[in-house]
């Protein structure tokens, strides 16, 4: 009798379409699924089946979808969560993120605006706003938002500074001086030897044809680094680009000698073998 009852329960269970789908999902995930997120999405789906009017659950699943890079599903869940009464500012932030990531910039701007109405000093939200405005070609507004980020973020990253300079140059593609000022600000905040910023400074000095300053910047790298061979080569290459062949020749001599000074194993690395070839090619150019 008990066995029969259990069989009937089991039969009923499989007759429920929703649950059958969920069961199939489980099996599928076990067979093909990779990663913990898929499992968590499924668990959240089961919770939603249990409690379909709970906006919190839709938000949570939406965020899981977002992390899983299923942006459409994420947005659907966020919208559903909002329709069920979720007024949390974080929901607007997530919607802004997803819209931004799916290139729906106007919608993203509306979402982040709703967030900032509630919390106008959140640097993360201001940064997203700046990024959205940048995509909408609203460069001045974007710069204003980003300035707030730079002034108020405790732990800035080199990437933040570089992104800010990209906006500066998008607003005015000749405004290298402001971009370099921003780089200097970053170096002051993050440490004067932060390499990605020093490299970006060099790039801007070259692009803005500030030749002597660019050469000084090459010299900074030559002084700063133990191994100088790559920097001598890069400086020589630039000297040739600006048609200062004699200086390039001398700089290439330093590059070659620096390689000779390396331990044997470094000399035999692919990067150094390639560098030697590049030096040879440049030497030929200086002799032309």
């Amino acid at each position: 009798m008990l066995v029969k009852l259990q069989f009937l329960n089991f039969f009923n269970f499989f007759c429920n379409r929703k649950l059958l789908v969920a069961f199939c999902l489980i099996v599928t995930i076990q067979m093909f699924g990779h990663g913990d997120l898929s499992e968590r999405i499924l668990l959240k789906t089961i919770e939603i089946i249990e409690d379909p009017e709970n906006y919190k659950l839709y938000y949570e699943r939406g965020f899981l979808y977002q992390q899983h890079i299923d942006y459409n599903e994420a947005l659907e869940d966020y919208i559903k969560s909002e329709s069920l009464g979720n007024t949390d500012k974080v929901l607007h932030y997530r919607m802004a993120e997803v819209n931004y990531l799916t290139n729906a910039y106007s919608n993203a701007l509306v979402n982040i605006g709703a967030y900032l109405k509630v919390d106008s000093i959140d640097v993360k939200a201001k940064k997203l706003e700046a990024q959205i405005l940048f995509k909408l070609n609203e460069y001045e507004k974007s710069l204003k938002s980003y300035q707030y980020v730079l002034q108020n973020t405790i732990d800035l990253r080199p990437e933040d500074i570089i992104e800010y300079t990209h906006i500066i140059l998008s607003e005015n593609n000749k405004n290298y001086n402001s971009a370099i000022v921003a780089i200097e600000f970053g170096l002051q905040k993050l440490g004067s030897n932060t390499i990605s910023l020093q490299l970006k400074k060099l790039e801007y000095l070259k692009e803005s044809e500030q030749v002597e300053k660019a050469l000084q910047q090459f010299n900074y790298f030559i002084i700063q680094f133990k191994r100088k061979e790559f920097w001598f080569y890069k400086k020589a290459k630039y000297l040739i680009e600006i048609n200062r062949k004699k200086e390039a020749r001398i700089t290439l001599k330093f590059a070659t000698r620096s390689i000779e000074e390396l331990d044997t194993r470094f000399k035999n690395m692919e990067s150094i073998k390639k560098l030697k070839e590049q030096i040879k090619n440049l030497e030929n150019k200086t002799n032309q």
């Binding site: 269970f13 499992e39 990253r157 932060t194 390499i195 001398i250």
Partner: protein, 562 residues
């Protein structure tokens, strides 16, 4: 009906997912004690250490000690060379709960005992001498180094504890260098599910408490850490818990961010990348930093770690997942060309270890172990073997043959998750719990061996391999001097006499010296002369180019003034 059925599904699912964690997840005794203490304590203001101490950013002369107290108080570290005589003290009188004290002015490669406390007294100490830091050796030192490598450890269950205990047993019973663990290398996902502070307490501090107070912990960011941490603002538990060198203070190139950084230990250079949040493109900030960093090291060994594996067919697939493909295609050509030796990844909850590779950046099915020509896919005669002394032979690097690296995906320090485990670049693929230990030591023949062992949770060593480098213990300076003398003899146009601080110019017979110019390494002319004996006593040490003009030609020569 729905409710019961849903529960059934949930149970079924749970059974599928967590079969390997069948043993109940029992909190550690110390955690229980702490919780109970909170519940019954009548003195709510008593200062207690809730977390740590743990060690960060060790250099040859400094280390950072961190801990947490239940209420704000001052920070004091007493330290010294003898357990009973902690005569040095470093304090911070600001009251706080998150304590971070830098000990500076230390001697390299030296053991310092310490305790932590506040102005009122000691809050945590070890009477048996198990709370100490051994400072890093001077950069370039060739000595035994042992690193414990833990990938995806943070389950806070008995799987994790068994893996931990197997390593503790290993290190305590090794006949040589018993008990020595120079560092812990965490490959991310250190605390499931989302790397929250509480999860870190349970899966990191409570589990590794005994090791964290005597061995320095380094880590890269995992995707689960990244759920609660934000690299864009370097905030959240991961960034709050760890302190990493952003300014190159532990060796390496300043990155300006804790998301990726490098450090030196002995003669090993470690490069830690963020494969989760940071831009992985060639030419991106992280790539530019990594390239500059690796091209500036003169260390004998280069080890890199990041979370997402470049080769895996475990619970993740390096043929289909973006981050994994990008790290392989973008970073690995550059790193291989600059001599990387060992790549440590997690993410897949298994142990997968490659052959001795070079130049394979495609999908699994494009891997050809028999391709040993320049650029891939395996290196040397033993490259497609198992890398074992008692097997196909160890992997070999020499000063002439510098290519070859082993890739390890070791993400099973907390759980296993299966997968096909059939990546063709892998020599070994195991769906087993375990952690790895890396040991670097002299080979007795002027070189060094880098050996990695996979230590199972049942104490078995299921895999090991060795990379040998020849000739790295030779006196490089003396070789260089000999080479230089030969160079000088061959190129007699300019000769530096160090005893007299003079550069002699010798022109070819039949030519007349007209002018000599000497340039420093920034390209600035520092001397102009018409003499054949030039006083250079006013020049700084360094490399110079001497340009000699005769009536027939112009010659250039480099000299080094030492």
């Amino acid at each position: 009906m729905i409710k019961i059925s849903a529960q059934l599904i949930l149970m079924l699912f749970t059974f599928f997912s967590f079969t390997q964690t069948a043993i109940a997840d029992i909190p550690e005794i110390e955690t229980i004690a702490r919780i109970k203490n909170f519940g019954v304590s009548s003195d709510t203001t008593a200062v207690k250490v809730e977390r740590g101490p743990y060690l960060q950013i060790a250099t040859p002369t400094s280390v950072v000690v961190k801990w947490r107290t239940n209420v704000p108080t001052e920070s004091v570290v007493n330290y010294g060379l003898e357990l009973g005589l902690l005569s040095d003290k470093e304090s911070n009188f600001n009251e706080m709960t998150e304590h971070e004290v830098s000990l500076t002015g230390l001697k390299p490669n030296t053991k310092y005992y310490f305790n932590i406390g506040n102005e009122a007294g000691v809050l945590s100490e070890s009477s048996t001498g198990d709370m100490y830091v051994i400072t890093a050796p001077k950069v370039g030192t060739k000595q035994f180094v042992r690193a414990w490598i833990l990938g995806d450890a943070g389950t806070a269950n008995n799987n994790q504890r068994n893996v931990r205990d197997a390593y503790y047993k290993y290190v305590d019973t090794e006949s040589a260098n018993t008990g020595k663990t120079d560092m812990m290398l965490f490959l991310g996902d250190n605390a499931y599910r989302t790397g929250t502070d509480v999860e870190y307490q349970n899966a990191f501090f409570d589990i590794y408490h005994n090791m964290l107070k005597k061995s320095v912990a380094w880590s890269c960011l995992g995707n689960h850490d990244g759920y609660s941490a934000d690299s864009a603002t370097q905030s959240g538990p991961y960034y709050d818990i760890f302190s990493f060198p952003t300014g190159g203070q532990a060796g390496g190139t300043p990155s300006g961010t804790e998301a990726y950084y490098s450090f030196d230990y002995a003669n090993i250079h470690f490069i830690i990348l963020d494969s989760h949040h940071s831009n992985r493109e060639v030419g991106g900030a992280m790539y530019n930093w990594a390239q500059t960093d690796i091209q500036n090291t003169t260390q004998d060994w280069i080890v890199t770690l990041f979370h997402h594996p470049v080769y895996t067919k475990g619970s993740h697939d390096s043929d289909t997942e973006d981050r994994l493909i990008e790290m392989r295609e973008n970073f690995m050509p550059m790193m291989e060309n600059n001599g990387v030796d060992l790549i440590l990844n997690g993410h897949s909850h298994s142990y997968e270890r490659s052959y001795f590779l070079n130049g394979h950046y495609g999908f699994s099915n494009t891997f050809n172990p028999n391709e040993i020509k320049n650029g891939g896919h395996t290196v040397g005669i033993s490259g497609k073997g198992d890398g074992k002394t008692d097997g196909d032979g160890i992997y070999q690097k020499t000063n002439e043959a510098t290519a070859g690296a082993v890739y390890i995906t070791t993400g099973s320090a907390g759980k296993t998750s299966g997968g096909d485990l059939n990546h063709k670049a892998m020599s070994v693929s195991l769906n087993e719990l375990g952690s790895c230990v890396m040991e670097v030591e002299d080979d007795g023949q002027g070189g060094q061996n880098l050996t990695v062992k996979f230590i199972r949770e049942n104490d078995e060593v299921d895999d090991y391999f060795t990379i040998n480098k020849k000739g790295i213990s030779q006196k490089v300076e003396s070789i260089k001097k000999a080479e230089k003398e030969i160079t000088v003899k061959k190129n007699a146009i300019a000769l530096f006499d160090a005893d007299k601080d003079v550069v002699y110019i010798k022109v070819n017979p039949g030519e007349r010296l007209k002018k000599v110019k000497i340039y420093n390494n920034l390209g600035k002319r520092v001397i102009k002369s018409k003499k054949s004996n030039i006083d250079v006593s006013g020049l700084q040490k360094g490399m110079y180019v001497v340009e000699v003009k005769t009536d027939k030609s112009t010659y250039t020569e480099t000299i080094i003034i030492e």
